[in-house]
């Protein structure tokens, strides 16, 4: 009896919790399809008095900042992900070769960099002033191109590939680079797909680096997440900076646009993440 009532409680409790998890998305999605007039009279509602596509029309028809920011996000995400994949897999491959001299030094360099950094302002001055990368996409793409944690995940995976395979390839006269491209990379597709998805999500969600490195004359370079943050800043602290004069329904439509790509990759992400979790636990 106690068991049964616990089960009932459990289902009800988790269902309520599930509703709490879903509710914010519903409000945003419904809000983006509400007419501005209905929003102004009734506020946020789950079933508006008047449905409307106006917010999306505004975004898609005019030469809007938002569509442009969406394009910038795609540039940053594609560019950043490809760059990170190249640099990270190459580093992981080199570090898993047998008897690489100086391996301990390289590993120590990576570990320390994961735990300690020069901090925001020294990095900012180095990248923006000394390297003169201010207002370029390189400023936001280059610093994360060697992702140390992802590199460790790839290394753990590469260690599971039998050495015999490479030895056989070597016997057949397969050079170092061909081994990497033709033998190792195809075998490492599962882990590469995993870190590609992590990287894509991270670059898509990135906002602080673009805000820091693109000055007010280069706002047209901001990705959608950064632009959205500046719009929301108006709600948090009216008159305290940010982007003003954006209708609330348009903000919600922008939020939907900034979430849709994540929702599209989510099914793949979820599947790969579980395998990534188990891969990560195989430490050498």
């Amino acid at each position: 009896m106690a068991r049964k009532s616990f089960q009932i409680f459990n289902y009800i409790f988790l269902t309520l919790l599930g509703v709490i998890f879903v509710l914010p998305y519903l409000y945003i999605i419904v809000g983006s399809f509400t007419s501005e007039a209905a929003y102004l009279t009734n506020g946020y509602q789950l079933w508006p008095q008047e449905w409307s596509l106006d917010a999306y029309k505004k975004i898609f028809t005019s030469a809007s900042d938002i569509l442009n920011a969406f394009k910038n996000s795609i540039i940053i995400t594609v560019g950043g992900t490809l760059l990170q994949l190249c640099v990270t897999t190459m580093t992981a491959y080199a570090l898993t070769r047998k008897n690489l001299k100086g391996k301990k030094i390289f590993m120590a360099l990576m570990m320390f960099a994961m735990l300690f950094s020069g901090g925001l302002i020294p990095s900012y001055i180095w990248i923006a002033s000394t390297l003169q990368l201010r207002n370029t996409y390189l400023a936001v793409l280059l610093p994360g191109s060697l992702h140390i944690w992802n590199c460790i995940l790839v290394m753990n995976y590469l260690r599971t590939i039998p050495v015999e395979l490479e030895e056989a390839a070597k016997m057949d006269g397969c050079g170092y680079w061909r081994q990497f491209v033709q033998i190792i990379l195809p075998l490492a597709v599962p882990i590469i797909a995993t870190i590609a998805l992590y990287a894509a999500v991270a670059y898509w969600n990135m906002w602080s680096a673009p805000e820091l490195y693109f000055d007010s004359n280069h706002r047209h370079m901001l990705p959608i997440t950064a632009l959205l943050r500046q719009m929301i800043q108006q709600n948090l602290n009216p008159g305290g900076g940010g982007v003003s004069g954006v209708a609330e329904t348009v903000k919600m439509a922008t939020t939907v646009l900034a979430t849709v790509p994540i929702l599209c990759v989510y099914p793949f992400l979820q599947r790969f993440f579980m395998s990534g979790l188990t891969l990560g636990s195989v430490k050498g």
């Binding site: 709490i20 946020y44 080199a94 302002i121 709600n235 919600m252 989510y266």
Partner: protein, 318 residues
């Protein structure tokens, strides 16, 4: 004797060179990663020297600026702001430790008791999604709930005859809001991890226990919880190790530069970011000093907590 040593040295160097020549492909492949590491992790560390100078932006070479010793650290420790930042950081982290840390464990135990496969799967999918959306999106969602005039929470309060609260100018509410939203965003991620740990517990233990007449509840107490103990311990130690770090992304997106809320939400990293973004160059050394102190304390705490985790027979972070 001396000549022999010299010859030895020379021979060793030649050997090393020959090795690098024979394995140049390896080093070439390592090169891009190491260049990035040095360019964007190690070289910026020299900029920490900024905490010890009177910075003049017209003199780009830090070492040509006047060295003022530990002046900025003295300024930092006498600033009333410092204690506010430290107290805010610790308050948020301790609240998160008490409420956010156990949440995924409890949730994993509850989900594990669900028999219906589809319910289980759908719930996990929903709970896990926030891990992948940006804090910026969450901050937008919270505006819907917390707006003073037409926010969802205030209309509910009014329906119950309670007065509306202007959330965005009520600093005392924000430690709670930040903790609750961080549970909302992060609980799914931890739950999936603890569920994986639960499924790896030997099924025979449960069978044996139920033959011995142990009920479900006693099985949870005597088998599931001990089975999770090692995962929980390591997570706990690592969380405590990060007690001096702060959740910049969450706080800066949800609060922004709101001076009223800053009373309870300003932490070191948000202060440093606001300074860097404002271009107040004269304040850069002070902000660097803040960052340096936080970085060193965090490094020490994380290293200690990792050592402790390893002493307890766990794997540690690396």
């Amino acid at each position: 004797m001396d000549t022999k040593k010299k010859i030895d040295k020379k021979r060793r160097r030649e050997k090393r060179l020959a090795y690098i020549k024979g394995n140049w492909g390896n080093y070439a492949m390592l090169l891009p990663g190491m260049i990035m590491l040095i360019m964007f992790s190690y070289i910026p560390m020299y900029g920490l020297y900024m905490a010890f100078i009177d910075y003049n932006p017209l003199i780009p070479n830090l070492f040509k600026n006047e060295n003022v010793g530990v002046y900025w650290f003295k300024v930092m420790f006498t600033e009333p702001d410092l204690w506010k930042l430290v107290v805010n950081t610790l308050r948020l982290n301790i609240l998160k430790l008490i409420f956010r840390f156990p949440a995924p464990i409890i949730l994993a135990l509850l989900i594990n008791e669900i028999g219906n496969k589809y319910f289980k799967k759908i719930f996990q999918t929903i709970a896990y999604l926030p891990a992948f959306i940006s804090w910026v999106i969450v901050s937008g969602m919270m505006v819907i709930f917390l707006s003073t005039d037409n926010g969802v929470l205030n209309s509910i309060l009014e329906q119950f005859g309670l007065g509306a609260i202007s959330w965005y100018s009520a600093p005392e509410m924000w430690p709670g809001i930040l903790v609750i939203t961080s549970i909302w965003k992060e609980v799914g991620f931890g739950t999936v991890m603890f569920l994986a740990a639960i499924t790896s517990i030997d099924k025979e233990l449960y069978e044996a226990a139920s033959i011995d007449g142990a009920g479900k509840f006693r099985q949870v107490i005597h088998i599931t919880l001990p089975g999770l103990a090692s995962t929980v311990t390591i997570m706990l130690i690592l969380t405590i190790g990060k007690i001096f770090a702060d959740d910049f992304e969450q706080i800066y997106t949800m609060v922004g530069q709101n001076a009223i809320l800053g009373e309870t939400t300003d932490v070191i990293s948000t202060k440093v970011f606001a300074l860097a973004n404002s271009g107040a160059y004269r304040q850069f050394p002070l902000a660097t000093a803040y960052g340096l102190v936080q970085g060193v304390i965090s490094l020490i705490l994380i290293t200690i907590s990792d050592k402790v985790a390893k002493k307890l027979g766990q794997e540690g972070i690396w």
